[in-house]
Symmetry: C2
Subunit: 244 residues, 2 copies
Amino acid sequence: MSPYDPSAFPPFAVTVDLVVLTVRHHALCALSVRRGESPFQGRWALPGGFVRDDEDLSQAAARELAEETGLRAQNGAHLEQLATYGDPQRDPRMRVVSVAHLVLAPDLPAPRAGGDARSARWASVDTLLTESGQDHAGDAAPLAFDHGRILADGVERARSKIEYSSLATAFCPPEFTVGELRRVYEAVWGVALDPRNFHRKVTGTVGFLVPTGGTTTRQGGRPAQLFRAGGAALLNPPMLRPEV
Amino acid sequence: MSPYDPSAFPPFAVTVDLVVLTVRHHALCALSVRRGESPFQGRWALPGGFVRDDEDLSQAAARELAEETGLRAQNGAHLEQLATYGDPQRDPRMRVVSVAHLVLAPDLPAPRAGGDARSARWASVDTLLTESGQDHAGDAAPLAFDHGRILADGVERARSKIEYSSLATAFCPPEFTVGELRRVYEAVWGVALDPRNFHRKVTGTVGFLVPTGGTTTRQGGRPAQLFRAGGAALLNPPMLRPEV
DNA sequence: CCAAAAGTGTTCACCCTACACCCATGT
DNA sequence: ACATGGGTGTAGGGTGAACACTTTTGG
């Protein structure tokens, strides 16, 4: 039997779904869109769409990201492949394999609706995941399809990756202070960190932060130095997440 | 436009490819199969095959693993999803998205050929990757398709995962000595580790190893205690890979 | 006896934590 | 003046690296 006989394999639809994370108001938030059609009409879901015939998976993810948020990857945001979900029952109408991608973005202006979504919003991942985990009466409802599971996997990936990489800077604007970076860690991990030790740690790790020379008082108090993300991708030693 | 109109999205073939790693003769080895058909006829490739209509991705990977090696996952071996590869040009005939999986297995009997492969072999990853990276005259040739890249990603995943998880025990038989476990780390990382400090470290990490009470002299020298893998999945503190 | 592998003890440097303390701004 | 956040100093405990040393087998 030839493995490429067209009758020898079943056809699949392939989509990309996006876990777009940002930090707003001291909370880790994810982008969700309201579904305009059945199934799960009116429910919240992750943004995403079909992969086109001539594009790679990462290109499809970047295109969907631009369509849904206006954000361009490699322009402050980080995009990486997360995992692929292919349960035969995950879409009730047909066999769909979804390649989920993770995007870490700085705090953005209000998202714009795009594609086939009626509207889009930022919501705290705690809200989205507890809604997803439980059936509630009223407005709250779990995310469509298996998107609750996908979001949880993306959040877990982000939480562990900022520990040993410099990815936390992807949540910050181009220039940021040590305190702003610390609040990113605190929001993503949901813990309080010692400001003094944090400062010593990140400024002492070579290649993590590059001072720009400027200062700012936008957080109040004494003027703080501004930094850009340094070139180092891996943190050695890593940031240590406090025990739970 | 309806996103589920059958004419609105291109059809894909979805496959699983397997990076099956083991430690043989002090070297990290991967399973490769000889391709029986065009394209890349006669070249070495990773084992894999089409996902069937009614099975999940992990089920497809476990089925292919059993077909190619006779190995059953969850029976000593570890199986996890690695990444998904979907470049439009990765297969010259049609659009194929491949969900690669990583398998870590103890040293096995000689592999049996299965599925559509003429033959199968274990080869050191160094050999497979340098063959893949360079064009050689004669018998050596790069792996088919983008399998060199997939193998490299799998090796990198294995190298980093044994650092902070107890997965290295998946390379060992059900009962093993501290020295045997150390030789796994040395083969996967390609470094020499201090036997004394390694012993103290792994036996001092609670939940990593469980003594069975037995001893063995199969490695020569003083009898060594035998251990089974403990329940702990995450190592805290992690094993530290020496600087390069 | 000797080689080889398994374990144990000890020392030193470094790093993480905790917290006291000082600095520079806005109101 | 004082509240607020930024930043430095320092002492104590824990851990990893290096290596001397003892233990227990096979040949």
